[in-house]
């Protein structure tokens, strides 16, 4: 009886033996990638040395020296570069937040209307979607900004007895080529109570809706949820507004000197950037919504009708929950796109983080590498947070297998 010869390990097995091949490939790839990274790091260090530059973030603590027009937090030119970066970050987040909301509203409406049976409405939406989707964002930002600055009157046109321009909505809103001036709320004594009442009514709405759903599941009765919610939203706050003696008043914009003062100033750059980004991204969202609705088979609608559900309930209870599963994942990437595209802000002089930290600060301090790394880190973290939040939402609506 002879034993089969014991196979000794040969080097060629690393390539020709399928048991080892994938390991070999992974090890080689790993070594190459590490070598590439080491080369990059080494190159950076060498070149920084050749330029006589060091690598440190101390510049963030030094005085910025420049002014920023739109500030959501306290900032003067005596503040630090880190503070300037924070102002920019908040400005970026503001554009991203407002832009995402408008884009979602516009996108959902346009997506549904594009499926309309009305020929003109469907075609108009097709023109909107194709027009915005197929022209670069930057052009839209510049177009909206050009309209804002060229087609609207200057503040000084509002001056005088027979002024060329006048404020709209009972003299409360001024649309100028420097932006839109609207009344701003002034929080007086007792305003905090009013806010508390408002928050309490929000909690009330939530609790009522929960109760209504439970009751419907148990008894089959449907309560008029919408009207009661609407009432809860407005009535307690309005009653308390008068009981507390009108704690919140409005401050109206007024023309003084060179500009309007008082009220809230929505700068042209902010409006142009937000609107252009929202309309551009909205066109993509419209397509996502349309594809989501089309993905739900016609049989579902017919089955719902056969059960006697009315069209709006069919949409809300049958079509949309299924469509959302298709809509949400691409919607996440649209939100990310909008957030990242907001870095085009410098084109219209909006002071986002790219313009403050990644623009003026880098330029004044010469810290390109550090600034760009921080900037990249900020966008990375923001994007990851947005997708994490959206993924949680996605998990909550996705098909639950029971």
């Amino acid at each position: 009886m002879t034993e089969p010869p014991a196979e000794s390990f040969r080097l060629s097995q690393l390539i020709y033996d399928t048991r080892y091949r994938s390991l070999t490939i992974q090890v080689v790839a790993f070594i190459l990638i590490m070598a590439g990274l080491v080369w990059l790091a080494n190159n950076t260090v060498q070149n920084l040395q050749a330029l006589g530059k060091d690598f440190n973030f101390g510049f963030l603590g030094s005085r910025a020296g420049y002014d920023i027009n739109q500030r959501l937090v306290e900032y003067t030119n005596d503040s630090t570069h880190a503070r300037a970066a924070l102002v920019g970050i908040l400005n970026t987040l503001l554009v991203a937040f407002v832009g995402c909301i408008i884009a979602t509203v516009v996108g959902v409406i346009a997506g549904v209307l594009r499926l309309s049976n009305n020929w003109i409405v469907a075609r108009l939406m097709a023109v909107y979607v194709e027009g915005f989707r197929n022209i670069p964002t930057l052009l839209w930002i510049l177009i909206v900004f050009a309209i804002m600055t060229e087609a609207t009157p200057q503040p000084r046109d509002f001056r005088g007895e027979d002024a060329e321009a006048s404020m709209i909505l009972f003299d409360t809103v001024a649309i100028t080529n420097r932006g839109v001036y609207t009344p701003a709320p002034v929080w007086g004594d007792g305003a905090l109570t009013l806010v508390a009442v408002f928050l309490a009514s929000l909690v009330g709405i939530w609790a009522f809706r929960r109760y209504a759903r439970k009751r419907q599941e148990q008894t089959g009765d449907i309560l008029p949820v919408f009207w009661i919610s609407l009432g809860l939203f407005f009535i307690p706050s309005i009653i308390f507004y008068f009981i507390l003696g009108r704690p919140v008043t409005l401050e109206y914009p007024e023309l003084t000197g060179f500009n309007f003062s008082g009220g809230t100033h929505l700068r042209s750059s902010f409006i142009a950037l937000t609107l252009a980004l929202a309309l551009y991204t909205g066109a993509f969202i419209a397509e996502n919504v349309r594809s989501g609705i089309l993905a739900v088979s016609r049989g579902q609608t017919e089955a719902a009708f056969a059960l006697g559900l009315r069209p709006n309930r069919t949409m809300n209870l049958v079509i949309l929950p299924q469509a959302l599963r298709v809509i949400i994942p691409p919607l996440i990437s649209q939100y990310l796109n909008l957030t990242k595209n907001s870095s085009l802000a410098i084109a219209v002089g909006y002071m986002d983080v790219r313009s403050t930290l990644g623009g003026i600060t880098i330029n004044q301090t010469g810290r390109e590498l550090e600034g760009m790394l921080l900037l990249g880190l900020f966008y990375l973290v923001t994007s990851l947070i947005i997708s994490a939040v959206m993924n949680v939402y996605n998990a909550s609506i996705k098909l639950k297998e029971r």
Partner: protein, 338 residues
């Protein structure tokens, strides 16, 4: 095989481009042309003309350096840069020198690791407003909206000026001079501020220049000059002495008309040294002995460049003022060619 050769070349090119900061002259000579950073367009200083050729006062400096190195003023690639991109372009080696009305400051010279090779225009920051506003002094600008190019020293001066005078303002940050012009004319800002020379040049391109006034206050010192990367002194010397040659030529009465005649030799030993008929100044720079002749025959001496591009006979109409020779009460003063 071909592909790997190509990739190899690219890698080496990348390495060379990344590592090379010391031998700019060799690189420029090997490339056969000079990469010169200029503005994106400021009439009189650097702007393409109707046939697409760059011309202007700063462009003249670029051409003079090209003439010194190659004897050919057209061997220049003009790279338009904005206030924000210019320093990165120079530090990264994308351009060999920057002639873009850039203010010489301590931190740019020392901290940003650049070397200013002289001053070709003594300037200061001013304000321009529409005449119909009825403003006659910068002290009346409280609450105004001000257009400003971002990434410039003017941005910092502006903040300081308004803060020290207890006035408020709304800055409108702008990327290029052309955008600023459009915003200002549309009335999106009340005031445009930049170097006074830039204001004059911008105003000259308006449909009705007389409808705009430049306010009398000059709120800063803005010595503008060409700059190169810190550390390559041979290259810095070439740019520095090219500029000095232009200035000295005016002082010595060398013009584009008489330079070839004077190059044959004169009674004045300094002219002879400058133009290469005596001594070896060109060789010391690593250039040919007739380098200065080439420099001056391009657009003439400093005074000729000034008059042709931004002087009183042009629409921009700047007076020499501080930029006159020291012998005429100005600040231009070239060290001797010896």
């Amino acid at each position: 095989m071909k592909k790997s050769v190509l990739l190899g070349t690219l890698t080496i090119a990348g390495l060379v481009a990344a590592a090379g900061s010391a031998q700019t002259l060799d690189e420029v000579q090997a490339r056969g042309s000079l990469n010169c950073g200029v503005t994106t367009g400021l009439v009189g200083f650097a702007a393409p003309n109707a046939s697409g050729e760059w011309e202007g006062f700063d462009v003249g400096v670029c051409r003079a350096v090209a003439a010194a190195v190659f004897g050919d003023p057209s061997a220049v690639n003009f790279v338009p840069t904005t206030g924000q991109t210019r320093f990165t372009a120079l530090a990264s080696g994308e351009i060999d020198m920057l002639a873009r009305n850039t203010t010489w400051t301590f931190s740019r010279d020392v901290d940003l690791r650049f070397e200013f090779t002289g001053i070709n225009y003594y300037d200061g920051q001013g304000f321009m407003v529409p005449r119909e506003l009825g403003v006659s002094s910068a002290m009346e600008l409280d609450g105004a909206t001000v257009c400003i190019q971002t990434g410039t020293t003017t941005e910092l001066n502006l903040a300081d000026f308004f803060a020290s005078n207890n006035m408020s303002y709304e800055p409108v940050p702008i990327e290029t001079n052309a955008e600023a012009q459009q915003q200002y004319l549309a009335g999106a800002c009340d005031v445009y501020t930049t170097d006074a020379s830039g204001l004059a040049a911008t105003r000259a391109t308006f449909e009705d220049p007389s409808a705009h006034v430049v306010l009398p206050e000059i709120i800063s010192k803005e010595p503008l000059g060409p700059l190169v990367r810190h550390g390559d002194h041979e290259w810095g010397d070439i740019v520095r002495w090219t500029l000095n040659a232009l200035i000295a030529a005016e002082e010595l009465g060398i013009t584009s008309a008489n330079v070839s005649e004077l190059a044959a030799g004169t009674e004045n030993p300094e002219i002879n040294r400058l133009l290469g008929s005596e001594g070896e100044l060109g060789g010391m720079l690593g250039l040919s002995s007739d380098w200065a002749v080439n420099v001056i025959s391009v657009g003439g001496n400093y005074g000729e460049l000034f008059e042709a591009n931004i002087g009183e006979a042009t629409p921009i109409g700047l007076a020499r003022g501080l930029n006159a020779q020291w012998t005429d009460g100005g600040l231009l003063y070239s060290p001797p060619f010896r």
